[in-house]
Symmetry: C2
Subunit: 213 residues, 2 copies
DNA sequence: TAGATTGTTAATCGATTAACAATC
DNA sequence: TAGATTGTTAATCGATTAACAATC
């Protein structure tokens, strides 16, 4: 258990730092990085990088900077990426299909990426038993059962807006603690369940605002 | 030209309000809505709803609330959704393909949705001339030319991370002012060009943080 | 009129930045 | 040692919330 409640603003930057460290170590074999450089590459002010990291421990050395490998390991641990995280996807339409392919290929190439999509669900009987890449599509009725049996921890929701809330309610009742939602609808989840929204039309509408200044 | 520079936090909520108003008027034929109800439905405090709207004018009546139709019209105008916004998509892989289908079908069903995806680009000659739904895939070489000829204002980037920055540079040089990026990479754009990131792996990594509290 | 709700100002809250002593 | 850079505190900035006069 952590002492302070870390704000979501901080948590959102951690994967950014991790990505910078992974690229620097993979592409440049970099051993050390200062908060200045890490910040530059992540698009974050150096003082903020140090403050963010300091919530979790003392990872750097004065006058030297941060050991890339060590900080990488620590960030993975903090983000729970040092163990397998099992993910299910509900709604294998065009978008769901694409996300499966995108994700399966990524996780096959990069064995250290421990967020694994391992189960697909749909409510269309015509799709039951069908495979996308190497994953079988299960009937939506099996969602709760499979969440428990396969220890799924995150679900990706790519069903039509009208069905998203009921899918989420089912999943939450079965113990799901995190949801990545693509449906263009505001979902309600109980305290303790975390929601990330990937709502493309909202993003496009936001961008449209800036088009005549 | 607007008097105050409106913060992005405000702009992000406007499409949310618009969606609530559209649903209320379409599904419930609602005529009036208070900041209280609009806020409840959008997940925003009522005082913040009033403050956000007040940046752009006086749209409500004391003791009464907001006229749904009127506010809807005003929000559309503010967001530039009262005119056609033309969008191009670069990188017709699995994800790009799915976004095209998702978006074309949406815009065909909902004629009032004026953000239109009208051009596709890829660098794979095998795909040139191929159609996705009703849209032809053009060679990436034509990007700059087509941006100008078709008056594209937004591009959606679904190319691999390694190519995203060069695509963006090309597009920006040709006059693009807004970019929706799906590539898992931090893009650099000049002042005045707006960027929205839809980076799925960052979102999943963020969610993973919350999985053992 | 009485009740309701806006638009707006002041107060609060939270996040970022600046500054610097500690120390490698 | 001298220079560099961390971890941390204080100052600043910005966004949200509370409160209320105006008014429909």
């Amino acid at each position: 258990m952590r002492w302070h409640k870390i704000s979501d603003a901080v948590v959102r930057r951690l994967p950014l730092y991790l990505r910078v460290l992974e690229e620097a170590s993979r592409d440049e074999d970099k051993q050390l990085m200062s908060s200045q450089e890490l910040g530059d590459r992540a698009g974050v002010a150096p003082a903020l990088v140090r403050k963010d990291l300091a919530w979790f421990g003392e990872f750097g050395k004065q006058g030297v900077g941060y050991q890339v490998d060590y900080l990488k390991t620590e960030l993975r641990r903090i983000l729970n990426l040092d163990r397998e995280i099992r993910v299910g996807l509900v709604g294998v339409g065009a978008l769901g299909h694409a996300l499966v392919r995108y994700h399966r290929i990524r996780s096959m190439r990069n064995s250290s990426f421990h967020i694994n999509l391992i189960a697909l669900f749909d409510n269309d009987p015509a799709k039951f038993g069908e495979h996308v890449v190497d994953l079988e599509i299960w009937p939506l009725e099996l969602l709760a059962e499979k969440i428990k049996a396969l220890k799924l921890e995150i679900i990706i929701v790519t069903v039509p807006a009208a069905h998203a809330q009921e899918v989420v309610d089912l999943a939450v009742a079965a113990g799901i603690k995190a949801i990545l939602n693509f449906a263009p609808v505001k979902l309600t989840v109980p305290e303790g369940v975390h929601l990330a929204n990937a709502d493309l039309s909202l993003e496009l509408q936001r961008l449209a605002y800036y088009l005549n200044e």
